[in-house]
Symmetry: C2
Subunit: 147 residues, 2 copies
């Protein structure tokens, strides 16, 4: 009657798969550098953007601003990034990696690309492309009526 097949229910399956894969990868940056996931994300975003604000990073990676704030604080403490207040709007702080931060990231990025390569090999190029497309579609849909 009220049957709901959990194994075919996307919210459930997505979270379980995402947890599995991301925990698997998290093992790399946690083990090797003691980074948390928010810290890894800030690092990766900053490596890609060269220069960004905390808000920007939060938007791109769907992280709460307090998470970003704390991750930035920790990376700054490690001297992996530095912040500079914007000249024309002193609310804004521009973040960028230090030489040290870039170097640390380079090592991690190599591991990430390797991980990526193995995923691609396991799934196949077509399925991977299709997956990325489907994920984008999923993100663009807002189904329940939460504001």
């Amino acid at each position: 009657m009220s049957a709901l097949k959990l194994e075919e229910f996307l919210p459930f399956r997505l979270v379980r798969a995402a947890d599995a894969v991301s925990l698997d990868f998290a093992h790399i940056y946690k083990q090797k550098h003691g980074l948390s996931r928010p810290e890894w994300r800030v690092l990766a975003n900053l490596a890609e953007l060269r220069r960004a604000t905390a808000t920007e990073i939060g938007l791109r990676s769907a992280m709460h601003k307090t998470k970003v704030s704390r991750a930035v604080f920790e990376l700054e403490r490690r001297k992996w990034l530095n912040r500079r207040t914007d000249g024309s709007d002193r609310r804004v702080e521009w973040l960028e990696l230090t030489k040290l931060g870039e170097a640390q990231f380079a090592g991690l990025a190599a591991l990430a690309r390797d991980f990526e390569k193995r995923l691609l090999a396991a799934l196949g190029a077509g399925a991977t492309r299709a997956l990325l497309l489907t994920l984008r579609k999923l993100e663009s849909i807002r189904l329940s009526s939460n504001c």
Copy 2:
């Protein structure tokens, strides 16, 4: 050099999409019944299995046993489920939904199926099937060397 395109990096994309979809759905059971995600999961598993142990539920939904333990406690407090110690192995506790629990679940399951239907409509049947298959493949792969 050390470029890593985050938007094409699966661990990142999977988590972000899963967060979006599951938060979207979580809105339903949080708003309507004040359930947490672990609680919802225990409820759904139990509705499907009719009878299960906490360990079993933890395995099926990849939840830490303390999470399951606390969710079970809360659902028992609400009298949505009851536990009975196994006759031949008194370590094991069999869980099952009460009439109340089943009734509450029935309402939620209807909303879940509706949510599911809208997802299916948005993605298409083929893409949905492909997604589920790909997710299964992802879960079966263990890439990094974490034991």
